[in-house]
Symmetry: C2
Subunit: 257 residues, 2 copies
């Protein structure tokens, strides 16, 4: 099977112009077929503040009402996605930006309003692998933002880590998929304050033990959950680390079965 | 040759939720391959006001500085484009939104700063007909917003009428192209206050005579200029009228050689 890179970058890379440029140069230089998935970052919160739109948090998680969905659509599918795509084009990478509605690429159901109503948030139901296979075969690098749709006209705010995992799993039938979660650390750390304390490999048993012992930072738990979901979905390789792991022999955490 | 519809809608359709839904239902119902090109509307100006960003006009035309380009990218490529795409998906039309950077679809040069510096505004240089041919052949309906790029990383604000004309011309080698400019009137009017005074057909000689006599509203001149450019570029049919001309035998103005 041919190799396919599915690379997810988060807010920390996106918010730093220089870090983003460095990352995009490395991404563009990958010779194999590749997909980029990006989240948003703080700009959505800043924009809501500027526009006087309230950001409601329930249990520390953001509620996506109509106005916040508009902001997310403007920033994620508009400014961020198109800035990334234009920069990749300049680097010779023929990228093509997608929300989940474009080409019916990523479908979701609106999350049930019970027990907590998070508003226009999507739980993934289907990845349109035919579209991605077509685009990849034709030499395009899809750039996916963190928006899905319900097929009934509604866009839905959707976790970018989850989109990356679902995409990687759906395409693992056709490619040897290398799923890379890039973030600000060198991998999963034993000690959050020590960037050299990277755990080199982790399987689910080890993950559960570290979780039970309270060693893992709570912010890592959903990301790791997505990593194991990807592996169970058939993804061949899953890594967490800094963006530099794409091109250099950097330390990182490999998630294994 | 197969028939291809290239349909341009302007701000007046986009700003009215009901008019937009009606239009999209008609567009989705077209059986032949089709491309939608959309402009922006007043929302960009409203957003600039809300964010305290100055909108500079020179000779009545808007200057696109970095901040205004961001707003246009957020609204045109983000909110408007994705709202349209999601609605078309719900109508069974497999649409795919594009800025000019996506798939390197529409290239432009930044307009020279002399005699007037309009900022990040693009003058079209190339339409990537291979991408559009591929998407159309695969059953997708591209939805293009009014943004091109220069291939060097810069997005450029670009007139949607001009994009529609250039797209139609580039594809007229492969399709029998029907280019439809939809706006709030039933066609080109002899009397702007009388919506029944539609001029049924107009060639360039007649256009020049009407222009000289001051009968045409000045707002129509750039649109008509694009119509004649499209015809000269090989487009087989060019019409100006209300969105209803797509599906009903409405009065409209047919632009002819």
């Amino acid at each position: 099977m041919d190799k396919l890179h599915v690379v997810k970058i988060g807010g920390n890379v996106i918010e730093n112009r220089e870090a983003l440029s460095d990352f995009l140069a490395d991404f563009a230089a990958l010779n194999e077929p590749k997909i980029l998935v990006h989240g948003g970052g703080k700009e959505a919160t800043q924009m809501a503040e500027k526009l006087g739109i309230e950001v409601e948090l329930i249990e520390g998680r953001r509620v996506t009402d109509v106005q916040n969905l508009d902001i997310i659509t403007m920033l994620y599918a508009g400014k961020l996605n198109k800035t990334i795509v234009a920069q990749l084009q300049a680097l010779g990478c023929n990228s093509l930006g997608l929300s989940g509605a474009d080409g019916n690429s990523i479908l979701a159901d609106k999350r049930p309003t019970e027990p907590i109503d998070f508003g226009f948030v999507g739980d993934l139901t289907k990845v349109n692998h035919s579209l991605f296979n077509l685009l990849l075969k034709e030499g395009f690098s899809p750039v996916c933002c963190a928006l899905s749709h319900d097929g009934k006209g509604q866009l839905l705010n959707t976790n970018a880590d989850t989109i990356a995992a679902a995409l990687a799993a759906a395409l693992s039938k056709y490619y040897e998929v290398h799923l890379n979660y890039c973030f600000e650390k060198n991998g999963v750390l034993k000690d959050l304050n020590d960037n050299t304390s990277v755990i080199p490999t982790m399987n689910e048993t080890e993950y559960n033990a570290l979780k039970t012992d309270g060693i893992l930072h709570t912010g890592m738990l959903p990301k790791l959950h997505n990593c194991f979901a990807a592996l169970k979905g058939g993804v061949q390789y899953v890594k967490i680390g800094s963006p530099k792991m794409l091109v250099e022999t950097e330390t990182c955490t490999q998630i294994i079965n």
